[in-house]
Symmetry: C2
Subunit: 192 residues, 2 copies
DNA sequence: CGGGCCTTTGACTGGTTTCAACTTCTGTGG
DNA sequence: CCACAGAAGTTGAAACCAGTCAAAGGCCCG
């Protein structure tokens, strides 16, 4: 149970048996099917979601009715509407499953208690947040590249996501239309 | 000395006199003139920079020779090339002063020691990082808006920056050319 | 086998960039 | 204190890239 979760944790910090036991009392396992929502826009985002298995995405729907994918989350990744999660405001994102998935849910209160009770976990949280920050910074810098370069970066950074996700969702994640990405790919393969 | 720095700190956490004294031993004050570099692409980014007074920017120069502004930093803000700062890799950003500025520099080793010695500071760091993360997420979502909306968001989010920074730098920060922003502004004022 | 989703392709449109010229503003040195 | 050079902002015209709309073909799953 929660194997990936603890493996991931042990990569950065060492937990005693007691600490691990404390942890377990806060974790909420959950399985969801493909296309099932775990969060819908407007609801309060009560949980941070850790992906044990499967693949999720968060996205918003803009005025024109198009999805804009904010994030993907594979095995070992976290996903949530961070703002809603910590403020309690209604969520601006939807989160749903692109594959059948196994999740671990944790509430904000639980995380706060854990950070309090297990100082090493506070450190872990800091490091995680810092990595996420850097990833975002990188991604933002890619938004100035042209279509082709942007797609290339995506493929080299997250080859597994590109493989497992429909192409039009990759396009959405990159801020492109499905058509534009399709054409860019065609050109790339023609040149090669 | 370092007034803004400690004010900012005290907004989130309470420090004893000893703790504050410990802090001071790690801080490196520095004044720089307008247009002066504090970090250049290729050098290792040794310091996280806290702005006591003034205004800095970080930016990259792309293949075409255009600046791309990554971040601005006003009084009370942090700025650094986070990736270079924590890995020691050569920096990918330049950081320079847009106004005469007073800074506080801290090395990564110093921050690590401080987080170790003063647990409250670890918590502070976590919270700061989390806020920065949310800000980035928000900014990324604005990149899908059209020119006018993007500029409006900028004005409402950071009115002080818009006031103090040349317009073509705002354009760069928003991922636009100076000409496009100029035209958008003209249209906006014509309609009003 | 059929339906729905996904991808591709074409024609058209529109917004942004690019390049160049001109004006306005600003700061500096004579 | 004025003159001048450089930086910043504006405007126009042309080229280009991505978006939009529409349609067709492919593929997977029930």
């Amino acid at each position: 149970m929660h194997e990936v979760f603890f493996t991931k944790l042990r990569e950065s910090i060492t937990l005693t048996e007691e600490e691990e036991a404390i942890f377990r009392t806060y974790l909420l396992p959950k399985k969801i099917r493909k296309k099932q929502y775990i969060l819908q826009e407007g609801d309060a985002c009560k949980y941070a979601i850790f992906v044990e298995k499967g693949l999720l995405r968060s996205y918003t729907v803009n005025e024109k009715g198009n999805d804009q994918i904010v994030q993907f989350a594979l095995e070992g990744w976290w996903i949530t509407d961070m703002y809603s999660f910590i403020t309690g405001e209604p969520a601006r994102y939807n989160i749903d499953a692109l594959e059948e998935s196994e999740l671990v849910l944790i509430s904000n209160a639980a995380l706060e208690e854990l950070r309090q009770r297990i100082p090493k976990f506070l450190e872990f949280s800091f490091l995680q947040m810092r990595s996420a920050y850097i990833a975002f910074e990188k991604r933002l810098s890619y938004m100035n590249l042209n279509t082709e370069e942007r797609y290339k970066k995506m493929v080299e950074t997250y080859p597994d996501i590109v493989q497992r996700v429909p192409q039009h969702m990759i396009a959405s994640y990159l801020g492109l239309t499905a058509e534009t990405l399709s054409r860019a790919r065609k050109q790339m393969s023609a040149r090669k």
